[in-house]
Symmetry: C2
């Protein structure tokens, strides 16, 4: 039913009160796309993301003004906040002092060693997690010179150099690493290579993956490939879309791997010329409903009465129908026939009944 | 850049004039969801699917009336038509006589041996391809009894029995096989197992995968896993959605594996608090445009001027901008600055210019 996955042994680190690595569940992250300086909009988005299961949130630090906002955001956020430093490395110390739980640095854009020194010192003092966020598109010049191209080997060397520097010089180890490329296969190769050489936890992701469909495909390919090999301790599905979708896609990947479950699984016919019920409409409503429920359930929306209950006998509850009649089945057995226009409400009633009998199926 | 894939050696078969297996490209299929008895609507959908790259189309045969329509559909379809027989096995011979290029049978619902005999004979006479379409949800009773559950092993045994029967008794070999389950991992295991035991070409797919996002995730996981192992000769991404999306997702998977390319690859920032341009709108327009173009191109839509051209220096052409200014870059070098509202038209002009210089990039 599910693949057997043997997770790679990593050390446990913390972003605020959220553990990453070791035996911790694989953590789902996202990033706000609001203007960080707009506290209200940013907090609203974080709240929304928190509700759909986001466990850690990253926000960009575009300038000094954002530092003031960051303080407010940290105070109001229900989940640990990570600041994304990128170019303005001089703001690192100030950013950490806002009380963020983690900071992401990009070695390729971190040129000032004094700023780095101050940053690592304050992180160590406050226990702030550092993500060494390697990006194939902005590798350090020296590394790029050596390898000519941003190869997976080049990315890994950059990450290992920085770990060594921070661990040996500052004796600080609350670190995680990402090795992102917009090419999913380079991404995969970099993570594989790194995981042979270090046990620091890994933050998975493909950068600049694109919009909801092509981006979901690239992310799924890379992330499921790595997780199947036991590699990955936290992940962000990066999409040019509402970040709520990033969280949803992340959990769908984890669910299909048997690693974490959040929402019911809804199987559905692809519709064919045999279908005599408004399958698409029914499916969309069931899927929308399922996205709001946190429970371990398997549901089915099937297109024909002949095929439906039989082909979906392994699900907890399902519907099908045709010619105005709606049918509800439970573990393959038909339990109710109703007019088609009453099918959905009757179905949701049956699901609630099922969950009352199986409260262990709820996920909190 | 791309994974190295060593394709499994399979025999070459034909669905009409389209070769499958051997050294043939991995073929993209879809299935109509119109009422087959509505010839006009069905042909319209097939035309639409053909335009987006669908190479073989399957239509359901819900009843005897559909046989009459099928004849018309076959005549007007620009691509080979496969009839999906499923329950009404008595219609098999008539269906093949409409001139379809392939027929899909489900052993689990094919109980009448006389009908089978007539079907295989007429297929052999006309060279019609037979797909032995195993479905975990409707396995033969005898097999299910032996294995208790629709395991991958049970699915493979059913397929091998049927191959043996058709090949040995009728000496007919224009066959392909599918082994679909709504559980992606069972699907994967069944195909892996089968490919160790037989060299008949394989039609990949996950059945009842669900709507556009969850379905894309399940299909991508299963199909990319198998293709990476060299398994798979043709595929259908099954989605509860417009079948046009099935074809699009199929090519996206193939493109990311370096197996086939159809549309330009568009990378794009996930948008963050640093973004000062209407990235989402620009991306959506570029993606929509790219879906209509058949060319091997790499494009980028980047969120910030500082990061954009550098991080996307490997693409052919890209755009970025901020504060009302739009920027076009080619191979990492800025080649044009225009007002933001003229950016898209200037970008498309530059792409056309690029394609004029590189006509070899077009895919026909």
């Amino acid at each position: 039913m599910f693949p057997h996955i043997k997770r790679r042994k990593t050390r446990t680190i913390f972003v605020g009160n959220v553990s990453i690595g070791g035996d911790s569940p694989i953590r789902v992250q996202s990033m706000t796309n609001t203007d960080t300086r707009n506290v209200k909009a940013t907090i609203k988005q974080i709240q929304k993301l928190y509700k759909v299961g986001c466990e850690i949130i990253r926000v960009a630090i575009p300038d000094e003004k954002a530092i003031i906002s960051l303080k407010e955001i940290v105070k109001e956020s229900p989940i640990p906040v990570i600041g994304d430093l990128h170019f303005l490395t001089s703001l690192g110390e100030k950013a950490v002092n806002t009380g963020i739980s983690g900071i992401r640095i990009n070695p390729g854009t971190f040129k000032n060693r004094k700023n780095l020194e101050r940053l690592v010192k304050i992180c160590k003092e406050r226990g702030t997690c550092i993500r060494i966020g390697i990006n194939a598109g902005s590798l350090e010049k020296e590394i790029l010179k050596k390898y000519q191209k941003p190869t997976p080997e080049a990315m890994v060397e950059s990450a290992l150099n920085w770990i060594e520097y921070i661990v040996e010089k500052y004796d600080y180890q609350n670190l995680k690493v990402s090795l992102k490329s917009s090419n999913w296969w380079d991404t995969v190769r970099a993570y594989e290579l790194f995981s042979e050489k270090s046990d620091f936890p890994l933050h998975l992701g493909v950068t600049e993956a694109g919009g909801i469909i092509p981006g979901t495909i690239k992310n799924t390919m890379a992330i499921s490939y790595l997780l199947l090999k036991g590699i990955g301790d936290t992940l962000r599905v990066s999409l040019t879309a509402d970040p709520v979708e990033e969280v949803y896609v992340a959990y769908e990947i984890l669910k299909n791997l048997g690693l974490r479950s959040l929402h019911p699984d809804v199987i559905a016919c692809p519709m064919c010329g045999r279908c005599e019920i408004d399958l698409m409409r029914l499916y969309k409503k069931v899927e929308k409903w399922a996205k709001k429920v946190k429970a371990n359930l398997k549901l089915a929306v099937m297109g024909c009465v002949v095929n439906g209950p039989g082909e979906a006998k392994h699900v907890d509850l399902g519907i099908t129908g045709g010619k105005g009649v709606g049918i509800i089945f439970r573990k393959g057995k038909i339990i109710k026939k109703v007019p088609e226009n009453e099918l959905l409400s009757a179905f949701f009633k049956e699901i609630k009944k099922f969950l009352k009998e199986h409260p262990e199926r709820y996920i909190n």
